[in-house]
Symmetry: C2
Subunit: 359 residues, 2 copies
């Protein structure tokens, strides 16, 4: 944003929020993840024999899987898909899994249908990897390989440091699969340092944005390529923490229908990356502005979005595919600030618990 923040964050308020504390912990959590890279190298070597990657998870873990589609596509050029859990667990479809590696994402390692999916897939020949914050969990025990996020206990209901931990874990796995493991390890380390530097300034800036959005009930969040995961994760944070009906879309999705719903009280948040998708994102933002929508621009190319009312840029990471580790931060911090502006408890959304045990 271009103006000084109207309401700076007080240290007192910050210390009281689990969500904010865990957002701030992310750089150190990423560094801890890098302490045990052998497990990633080994898992990648075994996955290379069965390189159709099937990812499963719910909520933020499913958003991380959206990132995995691009991490595996761009680094080792493998096909990675967000697999249907219901096809296997509910309908009992007997799909051939001989050439598949399953990557199961669950912070707690206790999500029941993810666990059941893994048990079935392993029995049918898939190589199974658990990416989890609890290496002693049932999911970890049920899997051939365990990649621990190492984020430490996450107490806020809304996931933050375990989400970025999952992203980094997927990037490392994909990096080793591409024979570029040490390059990705080094790049994640440097990106964590960039995040450490970024967070305090974004934390200051979101206060102004929170005031502007205090009466907004609907929003689209636009991202393409690796940043579609960021659009999904920012939308989920705003939904669960701030009760905003935020819907993630690709730039192209927006053009194919939803643009017709926009008006002045229906803002569009665009995550713009300085990569091959930038032109499409710029055009989508222009279309949104033409429909009267307020545009918020973030991402590494936030300044390239013309006419944005709010601009929250993030730095370019050393490896382009790692930009989602940085670009999610403005959304996480806005969720915290906007919840406060609306008088909601950012640490404990109504009706949610940390681990969803229902199927």
């Amino acid at each position: 944003m271009t103006q000084a923040p109207a309401r700076p964050t007080s240290v007192e308020r910050a210390n009281g929020s689990l969500l904010l504390r865990e957002i701030r912990e992310q750089p150190r959590a990423l560094e801890r993840l890098l302490e045990n890279t052998e497990a990633f190298e080994e898992a990648a070597a075994r996955a290379a024999r069965q390189p159709l990657v099937r990812m499963v998870g719910h909520g933020s873990s499913d958003n991380a899987a959206s990132y995995g589609v691009y991490a595996f596509g761009l680094l080792p050029a493998w096909t990675a898909l967000r697999d249907s859990i219901s096809l296997s667990v509910y309908y009992g479809a007997e799909v051939d899994l001989g050439g598949s590696t399953v990557v199961a994402l669950s912070q707690s390692g206790r999500t029941p249908d993810v666990l059941e999916y893994v048990q079935r897939a392993r029995a049918r020949g898939a190589f199974t990897i658990a990416i989890t914050n609890d290496p002693g969990s049932a999911l970890a025990q049920a899997s051939d390989a365990v990649l621990a996020i190492g984020a430490g206990p996450e107490e806020s209901v809304a996931a933050t440091k375990t989400y970025t931990g999952q992203l980094a874990a997927l990037a490392l796995l994909a990096g080793y699969a591409a024979g570029r493991g040490s390059e990705v390890v080094d790049a994640v380390r440097r990106t964590a340092a960039q995040l450490e530097e970024l967070l305090p300034s974004v934390e200051q800036h979101v206060a102004e944005l929170a005031v502007a959005l205090a009466f907004v009930g609907r929003m689209f969040v636009i991202g393409r390529g690796p940043e579609f995961a960021t659009a999904r994760e920012i939308s989920l944070k705003l939904l669960e923490t701030c009760r905003v009906a935020a819907e993630p879309l690709t730039a192209t999705d927006l053009m194919h229908g939803p643009v017709a719903a926009l008006d002045g009280l229906f803002p569009v948040w665009t995550i713009a990356s300085d990569d091959e998708t930038l032109q499409a994102v710029r055009e989508a933002a222009a279309k949104a502005r033409a429909a009267g929508a307020t545009v918020i621009a973030s991402g590494t190319a936030a300044h390239a979005i013309e006419g944005a009312a709010y601009v929250v840029p993030v730095p370019k990471p050393p490896l382009a595919v790692l930009s989602p580790l940085l670009s999610v931060a403005p959304g996480q911090l806005l969720a915290w600030a906007l919840a406060q502006a609306k008088g909601l408890d950012p640490d404990q959304p109504v009706g949610l618990s940390k681990i969803t045990l229902a199927l």
Copy 2:
């Protein structure tokens, strides 16, 4: 719904709407699709040699692809995925396509990045199938095989008969792939007859629902398994035609965060099928009601959703996997009725054109 409609549809109003005319044409369009089943049989035989199905499309075509995941998963037990267009077209990822069949979905056959995806995929060894309403289109010419929907010209901007045509085409292709082609052909024919019978009664009933929803700005639409496609398509119709911020979710998605956003002015539409997912959908609806949301229930098991304020059931088709051909109809008709209730033109949403040529 259980009450008599407050405002019956007048013939005059109906005749004026392209959208309504095309919704009504769907049963006959499906019958025309069944006139040329040889092409489906041939394409399925060739696809069987490369049975990893990659589907691409935008808007309603992408929603149809969500159905394809289940049609191929449940009938021949093949893996079908909604592939990333940007990974190939924007980022130039060189994924191995030797074992893949591409199914490109485009009503017009002119969607630029779908065309470019197919050209690249074919050059790299994929068997390519176009499912399109224009067998003379550039997409058809670029593909190894063409499956014509045969829906006739679609003039309304919002797709209806071409969407159900795409569903039927995917079901036929999957049916032939499973060696059950004639069974599926027969079942589609009987489902078309059920749709013919269903439409007039739903057309009457949606008037009441449209009045109830006239001031609603946000909605979740819940569906699981094959009906997730229906949830996506109903959401898109409401977004583009009625400016409702409708977001599709699986029952499990709802539990993992978005349920926290619900209140009395944030209704939840649940599509309930009488199948293995019913219990999860029932639980999600109960959670939505507990959060104060008004619940609308449709689908073959609409009556199984407790406490629903509005119930719009559809009959059970002869083959369970075909239920989305019927269950989308209440959403299509509501989009038409609600647009009218809100004073919008259902045939021509603001800012949209029939063919989206921007990338």
